[in-house]
Structure formats: C-alpha cells, structure tokens
C-alpha cells in the first residue's frame, strides 16, 4: 500500500486554480523528488498536503496510510506523522528556536533540551540561535537549517522538504542531509523533496521524481534523468518526456 496517494487533486488559492488534476503515489520508505520552475505549484502542493487552510481542495483526494486526510486539520496531519519544512518560514517574535524545538517534541517552551537534541542543534550549527526569536533576522540558510531541525525533531513518517538546499552552504548542506538521510533510513520514513538544482539529492538518494509544471505533474523517472533532460530541453521540453 502506498504511504500517500494523491488522486485527481485540484487546488485553488483565492480564486486562482493552482494545482490541476495531480496524481501521485509515494510508497512506504520511498524518497521522491519534485522538480519544477518557479510558480509551478510545488509549494502549493506541500502546503495542501500539510492542510494549510488558504489552499482549498476543489477536487480530488489525499489518502495517507489508507485514510482520507483531505479535510483533516494541520494538527491531525502532524499527529499522523506528516512533517514539513517550509520554503519561507515566518518570523515569530517572542518565540525562540529553543521554544520551537520543545514544541516539536511535545514539550513545554522553556524546557531544557536533551543531549540528543543538542547534538542535532550543533550539527545544524544553531547553538547561537537557540535563544533568538525564530527566523527574526536569520539569513536564508539559517532559516532553512532551523526549519529542517524542527522537522527532524517532529520525527515524522512523511517528511516534506521544500527546497532544503536553497541558501544553505555546501558544507552545512552535507552535514544536514546526512542527518536527514540517517533519520529516513533508521525510521523507514518516506520523503518528498522539492529541489531546483538537485544538490540535496547528492546526499539523500531518491529513486523517482517528477516534474510539476503549470499546476500539473508529468514525467515520472529517476531524478538524474529528469534533471539531465531539464538541463538539455528546459522544463517545457521535459514535460513532453523524451526519457526512455
């Protein structure tokens, strides 16, 4: 049974239809990559899967572990094991990264972090950020690292990572990706990774990928082949899928 089954999914934000008839299966223990140009609907897909209310499902369904979660709240989805790292996480004044780390682990803000959490914090090079307001005056890469840390602390069964390699330096990316990859291997979780350059896929191996283009998904194949085709033919060419 697929862990996640997206069936004929169409999604609107306001009056604009962004996702059109998406069909996608993510298997148990599978890492799946999604490519696509800016504005193609990748982040909308992530936000819809997470249950963010401003993204309205107008048709189709999302089945997760055999349950229809299309109308479930964000919290219900989190409890079922879905964790997301956002492309642009917001600033929350007065709430520190340490508070967020506690919240992700179901603990009260202000609780001291345990040794394993601190190990992760050090790996993500975030020791100096623990007492800072989350994302306030963080650089792009710092926001990303802080968000990925939170996702790992949630211990999800399905990780959804929206451009985890954007803005993160190569050395940090390697360390962070190794942690994520170890987690995926150890917990047998599945992952959906949105990436532009595919840098992250050097460290977190994905067997399958697809293109999201103008709100629809195309061309299931290995990420390496899809990336090569995008480089050679552009997204427009790639959606016609010439990979054999």
């Amino acid at each position: 049974m697929a862990l996640l089954k997206i069936k004929d999914l169409s999604v609107a934000s306001g009056r604009k239809v962004i996702l059109k008839k998406i069909d996608l299966d993510i298997e148990q223990h599978e890492t799946f990559a999604i490519f696509g140009p800016n504005g193609s609907g990748k982040s909308t897909l992530m936000n819809t899967l997470m249950g963010i209310p401003s993204y309205r499902v107008i048709k189709g369904s999302i089945i997760y572990r055999g349950k229809d979660i299309t109308k479930m709240s964000i919290l219900e989805r989190v409890r079922l094991g879905i964790g997301v790292s956002f492309q642009q996480p917001p600033e929350v004044k007065g709430v520190t990264l340490k508070d967020m780390a506690n919240i992700c682990q179901g603990k009260k803000p202000g609780t001291e972090l345990d040794e394993e959490t601190m190990r992760l914090v050090r790996t993500f090079k975030l020791e100096d950020f623990l007492d800072r307001n989350i994302n306030v005056d963080f650089s792009g890469g710092e926001k990303k690292r802080a968000d990925l840390l939170q996702v790992l602390l949630l211990k999800p069964r399905l990780l959804m990572l929206d451009e985890p390699d954007s803005g993160v330096d190569i050395v940090s990316l390697k360390l962070i990706c190794q942690e994520i990859y170890n987690y995926i291997k150890k917990s047998k979780a599945s992952a959906i990774i949105i990436t532009h350059q595919g840098e992250v896929l050097n460290y977190i191996k994905a067997k399958r990928a697809c293109i999201l283009y103008d709100g629809g998904n195309y061309c299931y194949h290995s990420p390496q082949k899809i990336l090569k085709d995008i480089r050679e033919n552009g997204y427009e060419g790639c959606v016609n899928c010439r990979i054999n």
Partner: protein, 376 residues
C-alpha cells in the same frame, strides 16, 4: 514562591497572597527592603539588615517629618493642578512610599512595595517619592492591587522620581485590578547627567478605566530613559496609556516600547511622545498592538516633536490580528490553534524587552504566568 506570612504575621494571609501576585515576597536574600500599605495605612516597612545604611524606605508622611526638604520635592515634577485626580491627591493624601537609594550604593537585589486596596469603593490616593542618589543603582518592583473581595475601587498614585548624576534606576510596576476599578497614576521623573531610568509597566488583568502618561525629563547630559509597557485589555476595559520623554540634555536618549493586546470589546489607546529639544538627542518609539476580538480596538498615537535641528527621533507602529501564517507555522509543529495562539501571545508579551537583570526577568515572567491572563 516564599510565603510572606512567615515574616508579616500581623497582616492577614489572604492579603499577603494577593500581594504575592504582584511581586511581593518574603524578605530575605531576594529583597533589600519592603514597603506595604493597605488603603491609607502603612502596614509594614523594613530594610533587610544587609542593606541598612544603603537605602531609606518609609511612609511619605514619616519622610516629611524626618526631612523638611522632601516637601520641596513633592509636586516638583507633576503639576498639582493638572487634573481632578492630582488635585484630589494633593488635598487629601493617603500615604505612599518614600524610597531613597543612598549615594554610590549599588543594590544587587530589588526593593519591593505593595499598595493594596482592601475596602469596597475605597479611593486610594498615594504620593510616592523615589530618589536614586548620585552613582546609585537599584531595582524596584512595585505592585498595586485590590483585595479579592473588593469589587469597586479607585487608585490615584502620584509618583515622582529623581534620578541623580550617574544613577541607574529600574522600576517595574505591576497592576492587578478588577473590572470595576478606575486607575489614575500620575508619574514623572527628572534625570541628571549620565543617569538611566528604566520604567516597566505590566497590566494584564481586567480594569474598568485606566489612564496614565508617565514622563521623564532627560535634562542631564547623556541621560537615558526607557519606558516599556505590556498591556492586556478585556471586556469593556478602556485603557489609555502612554509615555513621554523630553530630551533636553546633550546626547540624551529615550526609547518607548509598548506591546498591547485588546480582546472582547476593549479599547486601548497606546500613546507615546518624544520631544527632541537638544540637537544631539535621540529617541525611538515602538508600538505593537494585537487585536483578539472583532470589537476590540487599539489606537496607536505616536508623536514626535523635533524642536532642535539635529535631534533624531523615529517611531514604528503596527496594529493587527495574529498573522495566520504564524499560527499555521506553530500548528504544523504540533500545536492546536488555541495553543499556538497562546504561545504567540506569550511571546508578544515577552518580558525580555524590559531589560531587567536575568534573574528578575525570569521572576517577572513567572509572575505573569501566575496571573493566568487569558490567551485567546
């Protein structure tokens, strides 16, 4: 928290419990001195023996008898005829505290005071004089509260601060009223060279009608004033709170920060005024307002008055509801909407903005937790 009963046996336990909610605690290593007044009666005054000779604390009526010069300080910074409340306090004063931190004394632990109303419909009128002598440093935590069974009350509090050369005073005032109580503090400070006055105000419980506009005259060279307010209004409360700094000295500085939350049908006027009378003065004003109810109102009124070429004054103000994206973010980390709202409100009312020493900041934060102010 320690119980005051151990020391203050003459005061009913239920009153002490109310006092604890606004920062009073048992004397000991955590407090240098205590002043406790119920209605117009001085109930308890003492100085921790370690701090004897370093500060003075007494009923203002005793201070007037002891030091003839205190009379000259009264109504020096606040106009006696300013309004009906100052006139009422001038005509029939009902005590108040006199606190004087002596020259060069740096007190590592705070002085505490509590002004309590224990009688129904009582109109409490106090006049406080606070002097930080040259080179001194102190923290004062003062709480104003009405006893649990008192439904209607009125509090008029005149407070005059004299911050001398190189002195630093950190004054934190916590109010804990009820929904039928009217409150009119009237405060002002005058600051000499290189002095620092930090004034923090917390009011997170219901009140009927609260209006105040404390001010500081930064007349000394390099004098610095900082006013911070955390306010939470409920039901039909009308809160009109602002702070004003007049920057007269060379390189005088001021910062005014307010964080206000209005829910139900409450209204908050959040004011602030910076007056730059010196060409080397600098000030910043910041007001953030959160609306938690469709009928709640926050009116931010920041005023900047640049009277001297070269004075550098700025302000920023923002009023609105909790941003959906912040709520969603916290919910995606495993919180319900109510829990996420609560975390955001708590963060909004972050006591770290007070600039208190860490142990005091944590103490004030834990006090705020005890107040159990509504969070959504």
């Amino acid at each position: 928290m320690c119980k005051l009963q151990d020391k203050l046996k003459s005061i009913p336990a239920k009153l002490l419990k109310e006092a604890e909610n606004v920062g009073m605690e048992q004397e000991g290593p955590g407090r240098s001195a205590t002043y406790f007044q119920t209605d117009h009666q001085q109930a308890y005054t003492s100085i921790n023996r370690i701090y004897k000779g370093k500060l003075e604390i007494m009923d203002i009526r005793d201070a007037l008898k002891k030091y003839p010069w205190v009379k000259k300080l009264m109504w020096k910074t606040v106009d006696k005829d300013k309004d009906e409340y100052t006139k009422a306090a001038a005509d029939m004063p009902g005590g108040g505290y006199f606190i004087r931190v002596l020259k060069g004394q740096k007190l590592s632990v705070p002085i505490q005071s509590c002004l309590m109303i224990t009688n129904e419909s009582f109109r409490q009128k106090v006049h406080n004089i606070i002097i930080a002598e040259e080179g001194s440093e102190a923290n004062i935590i003062t709480g104003c509260v009405q006893e649990h069974n008192v439904r209607i009350a009125e509090h008029i509090g005149i407070s005059e601060f004299f911050i001398k050369k190189n002195a630093k005073l950190n004054f934190t005032m916590i109010h804990n009223w009820k929904k039928d109580t009217k409150v009119r503090p009237r405060s002002a400070a005058v600051q000499d060279d290189n002095s620092t006055f930090i004034s923090n105000y917390i009011c997170l419980r219901p009140v009927k009608d609260l209006q105040m506009y404390p001010a500081s005259l930064c007349k000394g060279k390099g004098s610095t004033a900082r006013f911070t307010s955390l306010l939470y209004a409920y039901e039909n409360s009308l809160i009109d709170v602002g702070s004003k700094a007049v920057l007269e000295g060379d390189e005088s500085r001021a910062e005014i920060i307010s964080r206000v939350i209005a829910r139900d049908s409450s209204t908050i006027y959040s004011r602030g005024m910076l007056v730059g009378n010196n060409s080397k003065s600098k000030g910043h004003l910041e007001c953030s307002g959160l609306l938690l109810g469709r009928e709640a109102r926050v009116i931010a009124v920041p005023e900047l008055e640049g009277n001297s070429y070269g004075s550098d004054l700025s302000h920023e103000a923002a009023v609105g509801k909790i941003a959906d994206k912040e709520l969603m973010y916290l919910m995606s980390r495993g919180l319900s909407e109510e829990e996420a709202t609560s975390v955001i409100i708590r963060g909004f009312l972050d006591t770290k903005i007070f600039g208190l020493p860490e142990h005091l900041q944590k103490y004030i934060s834990s006090l705020m937790d005890q107040m159990k102010y509504a969070t959504g």
